[in-house]
């Protein structure tokens, strides 16, 4: 049994598969679409149309890099407002064309920068969260690595929340938590254990619906995730649009 801190380290490993690796392995085709139609194209978020078997779906992912160079290009997977606005644009497009939405969450958080605040990171996240609550198509959110703070939740409101076995989902990083609550960032390990951030914790707290077991065979992991997505999309597509939205509302409404 791994400790919470061990999982934090695994979730952050540079060589751990990133959103695009999952997208490539799960879907038969993927066409990336760019830009928020307003300001720019944030490379920390990828999105587009993919084929699941022969069903078109909209896919959104927070994309970290594996190398230093890639990470600079992807801003370490920390989106700016235009990233969230691009994601929302693509998700609204999905609703228009009745495509289900699959999101892949993997971020240390929304980028805390001057430009991000000037263009209102807060508004971008808030709007995305609110609109996702009302999109009339099934949404499945998969936490594949680090799900940290509002920057993760911004693409994380859906009908099913799935977590990879070693993924974490938290209010902020254990380091940040330790420096705020224990006034000592070196107590991050201790913080991680108390924060309840592992997939198992999240399932116990009633937030994660399902955990995908991990092993050394990435192919097996993605196949198991793919089976889960197909099975659950089938279930969700049986619901009327009103039922879907009522159930999604109730899912969050009961968290107290």
């Amino acid at each position: 049994m791994k400790t919470a801190w061990e999982r934090v380290e695994i979730a952050r490993e540079a060589e751990r598969p990133k959103a695009l690796d999952y997208i490539e392995n799960i879907f038969d085709e993927f066409m990336e679409l760019h830009g928020d139609r307003n300001y720019g194209d944030d490379k920390a978020i990828v999105g587009g149309i993919a084929l699941l078997g022969n069903i078109p779906v909209t896919v959104i992912g927070e994309q970290k890099g594996k190398s230093a160079k890639e990470n600079i290009e992807r801003n370490f997977g920390m989106p700016e407002p235009e990233g969230y606005r691009k994601a929302l644009r693509l998700m609204e497009q999905a609703e228009k064309f009745n495509r289900p939405i699959i999101t892949f969450i993997d971020t240390p958080g929304a980028y805390p920068g001057v430009g991000a605040e000037e263009r209102s990171q807060g508004e971008a996240i808030a709007k995305s969260i609110m609109e996702m609550a009302g999109l009339k198509v099934p949404i499945i959110c998969v936490v594949i690595g680090e799900g940290s703070s509002g920057g993760a939740l911004a693409i994380g409101v859906g009908d099913r929340i799935v977590m990879l076995e070693n993924a974490i989902y938290s209010i902020l990083s254990p380091e940040g938590f330790a420096s705020i609550l224990y006034k000592d960032s070196t107590k991050a390990k201790e913080a991680a254990e108390n924060m309840k951030i592992t997939a198992e914790d999240l399932q116990k707290l009633g937030i994660a619906d399902h955990i995908i077991k991990e092993n050394d065979d990435f192919e097996k992991i993605t196949q198991s995730l793919k089976r889960y997505i197909i099975k659950n999309l089938k279930e969700l597509q049986k619901l009327s649009k009103d039922e879907l939205l009522v159930k999604r509302y109730e899912k969050y409404r009961k968290i107290y």
């Binding site: 920068g113 991000a116 703070s149 924060m195 999604r248 968290i255």
Partner: protein, 281 residues
């Protein structure tokens, strides 16, 4: 290393605060304005809605006084007062801290909600309070705000939320984060019902509250010179390793960048809200 620096700053800040508190006590009836450094008679400040009579600095206001300033006399009827935190993570020392604060502030949580009239217009009013764990949003705050929004939908009333918050309630972890989704989903229903939501941002409004209901008003007002942002200024400074420009993340900065509708001084707030409610009758 960066974190060490922050710790030192924190330590220094808390020392200054202690010193200030001590000098406040010594002066008794007098208080020094943190903005213009003028020594003010406490009664005068109180009478002036807790705004500095010399420079116009808006001091922080308790929810009780805010409600008294905004709601018509004897019209505020509290709702959801029975909603308290369930300490979802069973976080060590948290309930003790909350209980001590309840004793000290005479508040049960960081938000008070109810129905009231403003210049004769009926509405739902939710007022956050920075004296209760920095107005942080935990499960009880999220639940109370959601009940307030649902009450507005049920009774077909407009809703006004006064925000002040340091962000999410850390001690409630992921349950705290999920309150952003819960409250925003409720706002979505309010919008679909065609009802008015006015969000009023006061000093400081940051973190998870900014990234949820605070930023979702049909009309967003702010008090002058309030700190409003998602990331805290210190976190940004650590990230970019530069000092932030004067006025960054203040109400005036947000107005300039197009993210709030209007800055309203405290003395004009009630009448402004009254007018807006009448426009939407």
């Amino acid at each position: 290393m960066v974190i060490n620096k922050v710790r030192k700053i924190n330590h220094k800040e808390s020392q200054t605060r202690k010193n200030e508190a001590a000098s406040d006590k010594m002066i008794g009836k007098w208080v020094k304005c943190e903005a213009c450094k003028e020594i003010l008679y406490k009664e005068d400040v109180h009478e002036n809605l807790s705004v500095c009579p010399v420079c116009g600095k808006h001091f922080r206001l308790s929810s009780r006084r805010r409600i008294a300033q905004i709601a018509d006399e004897n019209t505020f009827k509290e709702i959801a007062s029975e909603i308290l935190t369930k300490d979802p993570l069973k976080f060590k020392g948290y309930l003790e801290k909350v209980n001590a604060l309840r004793e000290k502030t005479n508040l049960q949580e960081a938000v008070t909600c109810g129905t009231c009239k403003i210049e004769g217009e009926k509405c739902v009013l939710a007022v956050m309070d920075g004296n209760f764990l920095m107005g942080s949003m935990g499960s009880a705050v999220g639940e109370r705000i959601t009940i307030a929004i649902e009450t507005a939908i049920e009774k077909r009333l407009p809703i006004i939320i006064f925000c002040v918050s340091g962000g999410a309630r850390m001690q409630e972890g992921i349950i705290s984060l999920m309150q952003m989704a819960k409250t925003s989903a409720a706002i979505k229903r309010l919008q679909d019902a065609g009802l008015l939501y006015i969000s009023v941002l006061t000093d400081p409004t940051t973190g998870g509250v900014t990234a949820s209901f605070a930023s979702l008003g049909d009309i967003i007002l702010a008090e002058p010179d309030a700190l409003i942002g998602f990331a805290g200024p210190r976190v940004i400074e650590q990230t970019i390793k530069q000092q932030l420009p004067e006025g960054f993340q203040k109400s005036e900065f947000l107005l300039e960048h197009g993210f709030i509708d209007k800055i309203v001084e405290r003395k004009d707030m009630k009448h402004t809200l009254g007018k807006l409610l009448k426009y939407h009758k």
